[in-house]
Amino acid sequence: AQSVTQPDIHITVSEGASLELRCNYSYGATPYLFWYVQSPGQGLQLLLKYFSGDTLVQGIKGFEAEFKRSQSSFNLRKPSVHWSDAAEYFCAVGAGANAGKSTFGDGTTLTVKP
């Protein structure tokens, strides 16, 4: 069975500082990996996804993530955080056409200090 671990429940960074959110997955084949963002009381929005090819993927809002098969990781990064990035971030792993059965991590809440 597939699983996702986000080790950090809550992260606080200063505005303008760099950010890295960690994600580790467990899956028997090549995974489809996703990062979603959720603002309070809202649905989730896709930030980026990895299916194959270049292991460094670019997403919206200046985010990027790197797939490292040897570490079973898919960490999300941003070089300079803006106050509007404060939200909850979810990593998810799927399985191709059946990827609607994506498994989500418990999420990391990001707080941005002025």
Binding site: G43, L46, F51, F90, A92, A97, A99, K101, S102, D106
Partner: protein, 114 residues
Amino acid sequence: SQTIHQWPATLVQPVGSPLSLECTVEGTSNPNLYWYRQAAGRGLQLLFYSVGIGQISSEVPQNLSASRPQDRQFILSSKKLLLSDSGFYLCAWMLGTGVSGELFFGEGSRLTVL
């Protein structure tokens, strides 16, 4: 463009009362449809998914049921709500024939059972 609508946005119901949450998708055909529940401080738990009209798969045993009476309509129901049914319910869709695996989420329905 595709859109997804969920209603009601907020619902407060007494224990033992029935429930009906509705979700509709516009701008696409034969989507895969999903109901997720998000408990406070937790990730997303997949409750039901559907790959076509009348086809429902349940992921976890529970007090809820789902139906898909039309191609782009997905309904979450309960005959008698429990306190443990409280949570944030998210409907999502995915292209049924593609392999992108990206989920598009509605804005959510917050259910409080008293």
